[in-house]
Amino acid sequence: MGVSEVQSALAEEGYVAGGRLSMALHLANTLGRPLLLEGPAGVGKTEVAKAMAAIHDTKLIRLQCYEGLDASHAIYEWNYQRQLLAIRASEAQGGTSEAALFSEDYLLKRPLLEAIRQDQPPVLLIDEIDRADEEFEAYLLEILSDFQITIPEMGTITAASRPMVILTANGTRELSDALRRRCLYAYVDYPDRETELAILRARMPAVEGLLARQIVGVVQALRREELEKSPGIAEMLDWAAALSGLGVNDIAQSPEAVQSTLVCLLKTAADYDAAPREVMDRLIGKVA
């Protein structure tokens, strides 16, 4: 599968990818390397993984990172309750062996272990890796290089198939050089006007041409304003859904609907103050 095939396959899944991103995904596939995606919130980093899983018709396994994430939540954990129950239950029949207690029946597989145990290579999405602690990052490096996990009670489990790994980050913390070097890298930025229109068309074919152009124009203009949280693609799609749900055909004609649906675009009080009615009217006037 070449780069252009990846791009068109993504387009079929309703994901409009730029040239570089498609190249990154293509190389991640062929070289078998993890792919690190960076960029502002809401530009579709997570969606890429979903689309990739859909293309390859395989499972998407997601590990959402957070501060304090540890091995027992990311890799595996023993099911103590079941083990205790098994001991109690078997006491009547003369006891159970230790090997039986530490068998796969009592192993709770967390995303990383689950990902390397699949028969068909899944897409493993490690979301917001920069939220996890540095210790976890080191642990992850080990797994990403060997694709094997050692469980002291059972031995080493090697990957049945190599998952396609996609990591996302949006700059909460500097990632280590070691991790960056091991990964392919792509920076996903806000799309330009044409690309965003294509995204809107792919996701919501029902939105008509005029309205779509207006929506994209206003959102693009809003990103140039000084906002604390610039609206991402997800916000744009929400707004489009809200407007079309209200039966709006031309936003210049219905400023009330625009004002009441701004909740989809602006997410902080300061941004509301930064984009009062006059500003919105000016932006709409420009695109209409």
């Binding site: 070289l31 070097r181 990964c183």
Partner: protein, 397 residues
Amino acid sequence: MQITRFPSRAEGLADRMAGFMAHLRMNGLSVGVRETGDALAALSEVEACDILEAREALSVLLTGDADSWRKFDELFDAYWFNAGKQRQGVANSTHVKVQSARPLMWQEHFEDASAGQEDSAGEDALTPDTGDGEAEGQDGRLMATKTDNLTRRDLRELMDEDSLREAEAAATRLARAMRDRRSRRSKQALRGRELDMRRIQRASLARGGEPLELHRKARPPRPLQIVALCDVSGSMTVYSRVFLAFLKGLVNSDTRTDAYLFHTRLMRVTDAMRDHDTLRAAGRLSLMAEGFGGGTDIAGSLETFLNSYGAKALNGRTVVIILSDGYCTSDATVLGDQLARLKKRSRRVVWLNPLKGWQDYAPVAAAIRAAEPHLDAHLPANTLQALAALEQEFAKL
């Protein structure tokens, strides 16, 4: 566009790729032998003769962060299409390595400089900086006979190596004093000192009341981070050597300090400052500090900073230090607005002003007057003593 002529003894793609890697390394990307092999492997997976495709593939493979991602195209063109050579006007060399030895990073800053300056700046990069820090037309060693009152002298006159070192040491002390903060709360930690009884009890519920897992907690360090923005415009040239040394001290004291230089635009210099090759670092920095020296646009630079680096560099534990004399061309009200934005997103904003230590100094410049309401402190920084005294001032913040 001229295509690079490679030496006839260059053995095909692998050799050229090695030259490209050296070129990238010179420009601050961390690529090694392994990446060279990977790059060749990646090229075999795509249409290597298609320039666009090859460039995309290599950028995906070789960049590691947003900065290098943005400048990769330029670097690629500079190496494979001789763009760097042509712009800098250097005689064609037949050796691949020579081409890569020239830092291309700053060429955008030279574009608006005159041709003469361009040449001298280029030479600067190659001649090792001796580090004795003499500014043009001033003989720093003259001061050596007056060592006793040296510390009270205005920094304009301090250009010798010792005082530079002292400025750096003052900065290191300052940064260390600020870094040493511990949180009062305790947090779960793998190798903590205390046992986390609450967590142990909660976990033991699932194990029939047996405390199988011992959770621990510790008080995490919550260091203050420093972001330093240093003015290197014309009016500040006389101070820039000492302030650069000060900046270097701040950056080298820990890994979280961020340093930026600005005049009419802003650039991040943390990596250049942290360069372990001191000669190269000095070369890079003096290039940036001296290659220009025109007007100042503080408000514009602050805006650039807030828009492109702010999200990453600022948080509730950041102290922003601005080193500037406050003479700028930008609109004072805009400066006020930008500082208000900055203030909102950081813990403290401190302005170090070399003019403030002067007798009868009054903040009359419009920019400073607009800025003052948004500052937590506006401190003098015209003598080494003043720099050293900052430590106490910062302890209060």
